[in-house]
Amino acid sequence: MTALIAVVMALAAISAIGVVLSRQTIYSALSLVVTVTMISVLFLLLNAQFLFAVQLIIYAGAVMVLFVFIIALLNPDAEDRPALDYRAIVGLVAVAAVTILVFVTARNGITYNSGGFRGQQVGAASNPYHTFAFGQDAVNAAGNVQTVAGQLFTTYLLPFEITSLLLLVAVIGAVYLTRRTRGVG
């Protein structure tokens, strides 16, 4: 299990480097497919089954198809590899420094709450999803999708609806930006 996590995390990190350093845009896109797939495996291992499915369908499916389609349509030229001058070295040092800093902080400075699900006091008896007796680690047991959906459609219903408005705005913006300015359209 630990070896699996190590391999998945290493593949995610390596392919993320590939996204930034590939000269051809299409290789960047394919590296990003590997990255988002590995991240979805991490979601599954973290008991986020719903997010695992969403990550695969939305990211590895829809978003990456859109990227590859646009790359095939526009056919951008290959870019020169960034030279290893002092700015690149400063950037590499910054990446390493932030990563090590966060890792050391997380290793030494965080205490874990092993108590019950803290959403259990929220809500009334009229809401069936709030009457569950969430025991310790109940959120992370199987049936996680039901728990997420219960919270999403009760406590977080307004933000959920606002995201649909956001998607509508994005669609209108995309249609406006890509419309024909002259000719038949």
């Binding site: 299990m1 630990t2 996590i5 995390m9 995610a12 990190a13 993320a16 996204v19 930034v20 845009t25 960047s28 990003l32 990255t35 991490l42 979601f43 973290l46 008991n47 986020a48 719903f50 997010l51 990550q55 939305i58 829809a62 978003v63 859109l66 990227f67 646009i70 349509l73 526009l74 870019e79 960034p82 700015r87 950037g91 990446v95 932030v98 990563t99 800093l101 966060v102 890792f103 997380a106 290793r107 965080i110 874990y112 709450n113 108590g115 699900f117 803290r118 310790q136 992370n140 996680n144 728990t147 919270q151 933000p159 995201t163 956001l166 998607l167 705005v169 669609v171 995309a174 930006l177």
Partner: protein
């Protein structure tokens, strides 16, 4: 089940992906790759959110990550529409050339 010992490594991976994405936004000139780097940064944030939700026994992390995915999808749609609009004006696909707003 992942043990809590993995949690620092997950946060480290999240920080690594975020900084790699930020570096990509800064050093790459192709707007499509810049958008992909932004996707990397949003995914890094999602890893942190879901890891925290997992180890604090809360579903809020997953709900937040879901919202982030929706925002990322909307951002990609508008961003790629902008790239297409720039290309249709006959411009080179290079973010260094798109500096009308600063002049």
């Amino acid at each position: 089940m992942i043990s809590t010992g993995v949690f620092p490594y997950l946060l480290g991976l999240s920080a690594f992906l975020f900084t790699i994405g930020a570096a990509g936004v800064l050093i790459r000139r192709n707007p499509i790759v810049v958008l992909m780097s932004i996707e990397l940064m949003l995914n890094a944030a999602n890893i942190a959110l879901i890891a925290y939700g997992r180890f604090l026994n809360s579903v809020e992390g997953q709900i937040f990550a879901f919202m982030v995915i929706v925002v990322a999808a909307a951002e990609v749609v508008v961003g790629l529409a902008l790239v297409t609009a720039i290309f249709r004006l006959g411009r080179e696909l290079d973010v260094d050339d798109l500096s009308e707003m600063s002049e």
